[in-house]
């Protein structure tokens, strides 16, 4: 059975060019980037080059990029590194949400029914001891884009650091750290056709931050641990693709996404796009099907060869309704009837049309079954 992948917000395949860039760094160019000898120097050269590419993707300087073991680590560095009271939102990725819940002083700002954060609500939450505001750039489940510039201004007016989790923004919209006004910005390689276990935190020059890991003096003493040179090289190559081609790719996906949404809304009664009235990235669509449990819909689609996702299903099968969908005011049932489609490089118009047919078929089969699922 041919399988089609519509879950690019979960992860993406390593692209051939990224794979090629990484391969020699696991075999021939294997040195420790911190070593003085030539093996080390070769590795250091690759690491520096990768750092310049990743920095260029963000419109930043190379020395503002700290490589991490993924987006979660970058988020944790930001949340735990500032000290004091932290303001964040109810729709953050668990990497921010769960980290923030460990803090003694934290305020969670609510979002509206479209999933948008009101900058004035952020301003109202600022206290004298507030050290950090963290608001994600693009929501992973809805694709909704937050008004970062306005929030950045509010943060800086109050002398507070501003962090944004930009993991889902990279490659989907142009990102310039300076223009956004962020002090800290988390990114991840595997969402942009790079390797898993590789991320970075942009730290604007002059920003004071405590490291998360202690050990050797790697990454300017901001992240101890032997540098992951193959991972960094893959990340760097992925960043070069983002710089050169992601704008055109995002435009292509946006057309496909709109086709998917329009045709599903036309052909399936009781279908609604969550967050549709907010500005969104062009590859993500979160659709709610009245009276349908997303669990059999997702499995039914998978068995037909279409990979999609529902909220935050975990390996144990615990399907607590998505905290993001709850935060935008959906009932438990509505949240449980929502499915996320996220498009990427592998998807074609023919695949989208086949997906639409499969959704129509599985939804109608599920609706014929009575009584409704709990």
């Amino acid at each position: 059975m041919t399988r089609f992948y519509f879950d690019h917000n979960a992860t993406t395949p390593v692209s051939p060019e990224v794979f090629q860039a990484m391969a020699p760094l696991m075999t021939t160019v294997f040195g420790n980037a911190s070593s003085i000898h030539q093996f080390g120097q070769e590795a250091r050269g690759e690491l520096d080059r990768a750092r310049r590419s990743v920095a260029a993707m963000l419109g930043a300087k190379a020395e503002e990029i700290v490589f991490t073991g993924g987006g979660t680590e970058a988020d944790n560095m930001a949340i735990f590194g500032a000290g004091g009271h932290v303001i964040t939102t109810t729709i953050e990725h668990p990497a921010v949400l769960q980290a923030a819940q460990q803090l003694p002083e934290v305020t969670f700002v609510k979002v509206d029914r479209q999933g948008l954060v009101d900058p004035q609500a952020v301003r109202a939450a600022i206290r004298p001891d507030t050290k950090l505001i963290s608001v994600m750039h693009v929501n992973n489940e809805l694709g909704v884009i937050q008004p970062l510039r306005e929030i950045a201004e509010i943060a800086h007016d109050a002398g507070v650091l501003f962090h944004s989790d930009g993991v889902q923004a990279m490659g989907k919209l142009p990102v310039n750290a300076g223009e956004l006004g962020v002090d800290l910005y988390s990114i991840s390689a595997h969402k942009i056709y790079g390797p898993k276990g590789m991320g970075a935190l942009y730290i604007r020059k002059g920003t004071e931050l405590r490291p998360l890991l202690y050990g050797g003096p790697h990454e300017r003493k901001m992240r101890a641990g032997t540098e992951n040179v193959p991972g960094a090289a893959g990340f760097g190559r992925a960043a070069e693709w983002v710089i050169a081609e992601s704008r055109a790719e995002a435009a292509r996906l946006s057309v496909l996404r709109d086709r998917l949404e329009q045709r599903i809304l036309t052909r399936v009664t009781g279908a609604h796009v969550n967050g549709s009235a907010a500005p969104r990235v062009g590859n993500t669509s979160n659709i709610r099907f009245d009276g349908i449990d997303s669990e059999p819909l997702l499995i039914g689609l998978d068995l037909k060869g279409f990979a999609v996702s529902s909220g935050s299903a975990c390996s144990s099968g615990a399907t607590e309704p998505s905290h993001v969908l709850a935060a935008i005011g959906l009932t438990r049932e509505q949240a449980r009837s929502s499915v996320r489609f996220s498009l990427g490089r592998s998807n074609t118009e023919a695949q989208v049309d086949a997906l639409i047919d499969a959704v129509v078929e599985v939804v109608s089969r599920l609706r014929k079954l009575a009584p409704a699922y709990v």
Binding site: E295, I299, G300, L303, K304, G317
Partner: protein, 369 residues
């Protein structure tokens, strides 16, 4: 997927693993599914890593997934926790508090495995389900009914818990182990390379650690904010004499001897629990004998509802050796039956199932009033 796709309910244990392996080897299109029914960490007072008789642990999911990977079949975990709590756990507790002794396995079969799971299977495109239950299902062309028979391995027979299955459920269900001995199943598990071949059989009620029902109910009450003192009361003899006190009616079941804390010349047993007065009635062994009982909500499986008296063997609990009896319809539609035993039976327990057999054939069953 094709019409012939079969969804196998995989618990991570040997039996359901073998079912998946057998069907897969036979060339069927098989999907493995594990039902997440209860969060074992939910009641911290009784949660323990070494508790026996548990279901739905991450270890079980790991085992089931491992088997599915070895077989190369699609595998999914589906979450039925809400429905399980509403349809199995809460009625289980309500029954205890009402002075009856419930069997959640039957409720789970009726409302979860052969209802929600069957529906889920159909929803994802599988027309049939298969489970590791020990029972047999056959089509009888003469009576135009699906018949249920006890398993070939009589020591493993689970028909007592399957007496609520309806014809349309039986039509879409396969029990491949019903024709096998347990030793054969374990051999086949080894032959199929199933890593859980030596895993012990699950025991007791899956969501109750160590078979401690009263402890489970107390913990659940605590979580729900219900004071446990509400069910405390007196222990009395049949003639109403107060002989002691108890911590709650749900600690007692008919026929129970231990835990009464009352010294007497001859062994004393629980004869009845009376939730209205919160009293536990005790008496002698002979006081437990009953010559007849009524059975409600009877589901007829292998035969249509009888309109005339019928001879049968009746099981009043899972480990009971079925006793000869006459069944007398007590409702026109056959859903209520009076059972008259040839010999009086000990500890006829309200809330337990009563299942009617004719030899291996499962005629039907219901709930003891």
């Amino acid at each position: 997927m094709s019409e012939h796709t079969i969804a196998v309910a995989m618990s991570g244990g040997v039996d359901s693993s073998v079912v998946a392996g057998m069907l897969n080897r036979a060339g069927e299109r098989v999907i493995g599914m594990t039902m997440q029914l209860w969060n074992q960490k939910r009641l911290p007072d009784i949660a323990s890593d070494n508790a026996t008789g548990r279901c739905c642990s991450l270890d079980d999911v790991y085992d089931a997934r491992h088997v599915a990977q070895l077989l190369g079949i699609p595998y999914y975990v589906v979450n039925f926790e809400d429905r399980f709590e509403a349809q199995v756990v809460k009625p289980f507790i309500d029954e205890y508090l009402a002075g009856r002794t419930p069997i959640p396995c039957t409720l789970c079969n009726n409302f979860i495995k052969f209802d929600q799971f069957l529906e889920m299977a159909e929803g994802i495109g599988a027309r049939e389900i298969a489970t590791g239950h020990y029972a047999r299902i056959d089509w009888n062309g003469d009576s135009r009914r699906w018949e249920m028979r006890r398993s070939v391995d009589r020591s493993k027979d689970q028909t007592y818990f399957l007496c609520g299955l309806k014809q349309d459920q039986l039509a879409r269900t396969r029990f491949p182990l019903g024709a096998m001995e347990k030793t054969q199943v374990r051999e086949l598990a080894r032959e199929l390379g199933i890593p859980t071949a030596a895993k012990p059989d699950s025991q007791e009620i899956c969501f109750v650690p160590n078979g401690d029902y009263a402890g489970f109910i107390d913990s659940y009450f605590k979580e729900q904010g219900i004071a446990p003192t509400e069910t405390q009361g007196e222990i009395v003899t049949a003639d109403g004499k107060v002989v002691g006190e108890h911590a709650g009616v749900h600690h007692f079941t008919v026929g129970q001897r231990r835990g009464l804390g009352i010294a007497a010349a001859e062994p004393l047993y629980v004869i009845a629990t009376e939730p209205a007065s919160k009293r536990v009635v005790i008496g002698r062994n002979d006081d437990l004998l009953r010559a007849s009982m009524h059975v409600r909500e009877v589901n007829w499986i292998s035969i249509a509802a009888p309109s005339a008296p019928l001879r049968a063997e009746v099981k009043i609990r899972n480990k009971h050796a079925a006793a000869a009896a006459t069944l007398l319809p007590a409702a026109a539609d056959g859903t209520r039956i009076e059972v008259r035993f040839d010999e009086p039976q000990r500890a006829v327990t309200p809330g337990q199932g009563a299942v009617f057999y004719s030899g291996d054939l499962v005629l039907g069953g219901g709930w003891i009033e």
